[in-house]
Symmetry: C2
Subunit: 281 residues, 2 copies
DNA sequence: GAGTGGTCTAGACCACCCT
DNA sequence: GGGTGGTCTAGACCACTCC
């Protein structure tokens, strides 16, 4: 894994925003039908873009609290509802986090890039090589039917399976939420194994060839569990990797969910990477 | 490309929701401090989940209009603001679309899966093989500096480049928004070429090896342009593919953006594909 | 107790569509 | 003209934090 610091959202080029105090708007705009100064944007969009601009310009710095809602209401001359709508949208864009009773803060930007080269070297061991403090936290082990309809793409056939849910941290930041499903007749040792390490590492120990793994990458609004794990608001975009091992000896499938601003995948096609890994083994 | 029909959001298992008319709440709940029937959820969440449940249950069917906002207000006994908030969240979850003056409609579900095997066979030709009506629509050709900060990962060095933007349709549905950057000294023929076909197809014609292509897959809220192209609301999750050709003869980089509910990527590691391509060459 | 963010209300106005 | 969704207001209440 590689860290991409100073990575920024492509939230759209920031426009120069002009805003006026509400009082002057009320007297000027609706009466005289003058062309609106907001370029067709609504008020909450103007507020949103202005705050977004201030973050980009460094007026509000990562980790700092921004101006409080009440003050923004006074400053922009709009209602509190409008300011709160703008702040909520910026939270969904990954720019802000809010803590009731404390304030609204600019998020730190730090995204991890997971290598997905053809030999699937993206294991926890890999991350350790690059000096990341990685940690795996077991959330639950349960027996259940697959209710996540996304996984129906792997045809789970409505059987009861063992489900292992865990959270993977990098430098104390939660970056992955993994739900893996195993057959119920699996041994306890294998369950323990899957609870403690990356899926890829676990599969390797059982000599599962990477070529037997099917991988689907997609995006989706954060699931309910992911919202809790990552403290993300409803609708927060996530990057998902749906995986399935087609190996006959060990059948596993599942999904890894990551906040869009915490993880990206890189696919390398460089042939030299093959030999590098081979030599180590 | 393969179509995954009947694909569903993993919006979270739908809970059984109980709601009461506002009037009865006011008299019962706040006065007697009875445990709330909403399991700690707020009103807009209850409304959201109930409408979500109805869509999943087929009460509201794809393409149909759901109950109007005014009627929902009466039915749930909440304010219009609350219902509208719930509907907006469901729009961001990809379940609904609204048309002012007409109504709110349940979206059709149909997602395309783009194959990203090691030989990068995901070209427009591939799509044609599978009987999709694919179409490419040129949006613009311009000279500009790279303002999209996501692409700074490819180190564009603040030079003026030729930017070609286009929309790719499958079965009349826009599924990709591509922005590619080429050097300014490139010939008009090559610009025309890139305007008319998939990036991969264009690169192949110039004998660019797939091993020279760097690919990063991530997720992000829809850019301003993507919002327009896909008629997606602000904050709509998208799947992005950032690509760069490292070949010395033809330097290209760019980004393809797709709505999360329209496209997923599959990575195949089947070794037979290796040999197949090798034999062809 | 003052300040914070989160939720909610009961209105209002607008642009739009259909009849 | 009646219905639709989108935006906005000026309040209110709550849980929370910090002093």
């Amino acid at each position: 894994m590689i860290v991409a610091s100073n990575w920024r959202l492509s939230y759209g080029a920031l426009e120069r925003i002009c805003y006026k105090h509400r009082s002057s708007w009320e007297t000027l705009i609706p009466m005289n039908k003058i062309s609106l100064p907001n370029n067709g944007s609504s008020l909450h969009e103007i507020v949103r873009e202005e705050i977004s601009r201030r973050i980009a310009a460094g007026v509000y710095k990562p980790g700092d609290a921004i101006t409080s809602t009440a003050q923004l209401v006074a400053e922009f001359g709009v209602s509190s509802t409008t300011v709160k709508r703008a702040l909520r949208d910026l939270r969904c864009a990954g720019l802000l986090t809010s803590m009731p009773g404390k304030g609204t803060f600019v998020k730190h930007r730090c995204r991890f890039i997971q290598e997905l080269d053809v030999c699937m070297s993206s294991s926890l061991d890999n991350a350790r090589w690059l000096d990341f403090q990685t940690k795996i936290e077991l959330v639950s082990i349960s027996r259940e039917r697959v209710s996540n309809s996304t996984l129906s793409i792997f045809d789970p056939q409505d059987k009861v399976l063992v489900c292992i849910r865990k959270v993977i941290y990098a430098d104390e930041v939660p970056i992955m939420y993994d739900s893996s499903f195993l057959p119920v007749n699996i041994s306890d040792e294998i369950i323990d194994e899957f609870s403690e390490c990356f899926i890829i590492d676990a599969l390797r120990r059982h000599n599962v060839d990477v070529k037997d793994i099917s991988l689907i990458i997609d995006s989706a609004p954060a699931s309910r569990e992911a919202q809790q794990v990552f403290q993300a608001p409803n609708g927060y975009p996530t990057l998902r990797r749906l995986y399935k091992s087609n190996n006959s000896t060990l059948s596993v499938f599942g999904v890894v969910e990551s906040p869009f601003d915490r993880l990206a995948c890189r696919i390398g096609f460089v042939s030299s990477q093959f030999s590098k890994i081979d030599k180590k083994k």
